[in-house]
Symmetry: C2
Subunit: 189 residues, 2 copies
DNA sequence: GCGGTTTTTGACCTAGAAGTACAATACCAT
DNA sequence: ATGGTATTGTACTTCTAGGTCAAAAACCGC
């Protein structure tokens, strides 16, 4: 019982993620968060323990969404290269928004100073690496990809590349350049 | 005439760079900067217009140092691969400090919100890309490297990879893993 | 040593970030 | 409708980041 909440916590986390994505952690104030969520600051702190806690939840939400997207993409049938290309493009954020990847931004901004952020980032990166690894094993098995490179190594390289791309995307530049890089990466597999 | 400055501005910028490197821009306070430089806050603001201005100078200093290092490295004679490996290792910050690359951190933290930082980052990245490109052209000419890939594309890929690596380094993990990735990259050239 | 000039120091100021308190509100069960 | 409970909004508090200022200090030329 009691008064019912006038917003959905899940949706609020999504919106918060979006704002953090645009402005970074330090660059986002509680007041802005409350406005963005269309609620008062009291509700914000009543629902989420702190700005930092909300940030962590936003990062986790991001991880989930990304991983869900990735796994669904690689469960679908079809040739591997186009799917890899699409995955890299999406992860690096090539296209519309010039924001890069929240997790990369978070890792670079808070990095060593924040063990929890670090941990979440590590988890996402290694999960992505695992998904890439499986895709590459598959691709090698079907003969679509070269077999003279260890899948693990290649997967690590792809992760590094996609992270770097997301930073480059954030600093700006023609989207065409980024798809060239991605094409080159895919061709080399 | 007038009272002589009791510290060297150049050295101060170096130390400031180091602190920003460790703590990020938002995570570093003017008080901390002053203490680190061994001066009072008044002197800080008397010499540098603002925290932001000092940050920009620190980033520029970093760019200069990195480019100087890189060009000297590729002017030296000898086989190309070991030198590329060393360059990637140094740029990504593999080894001792777990700090990644200041410029990458800055780009990810302030990114789109700060045009000046963006510009400095872009300049550094494209200079590095140019140096890589020349090295690869050279390596192809001497027959050390494969010639079936456009040097420009390869150079872009290396830049993306090294940026990504610096983020991974910052989030932590065994240094061995990173040298494996680098070895893989070099082998593919 | 003195005047002019510049630097240094540390106290001071202000704005806004992060979080709290509390009265008002809205619901449910009875 | 009424009591109990939980949420809401906003005013309030605290603290610190970022920056300023005035007085003391250190130098140079004369």
């Amino acid at each position: 019982m009691g008064r019912p909440m006038q917003f959905e916590a899940g949706e609020a986390v999504n919106r918060a993620m979006d704002l953090f994505w645009r402005q970074g952690y330090a660059g986002t104030t509680p007041q802005e968060l409350a406005s963005e969520l269309g609620i008062g600051k009291g509700s914000l702190y009543n629902t989420f323990e702190s700005k930092h806690a909300l940030f962590l939840r936003a990062l986790q939400r991001y991880s989930e969404a990304r991983l869900e997207y990735l796994t669904s993409m690689f469960q679908a049938p079809g040739p591997i290269r186009p799917r890899l290309k699409q995955a890299l493009t999406a992860l690096a954020g090539v296209g519309e928004h010039q924001r890069g990847c929240v997790m990369v931004n978070a890792a670079a901004e808070l990095g060593t100073a924040d063990a929890e952020v670090n941990h979440i980032a590590n988890e996402l990166f290694s999960h992505i690496e695992a998904v890439f690894g499986q895709a590459i094993v598959q691709g090698q098995a079907t003969g679509e990809l070269r077999t003279d490179q260890a899948p693990d190594t290649v997967a690590s390289q792809l992760v590094a590349s996609v992270i770097g791309l997301s930073v480059l995307v954030k600093t700006g530049g023609p989207a065409e350049r980024f798809s060239n890089i991605i094409d080159g990466l895919i061709d080399g597999l």
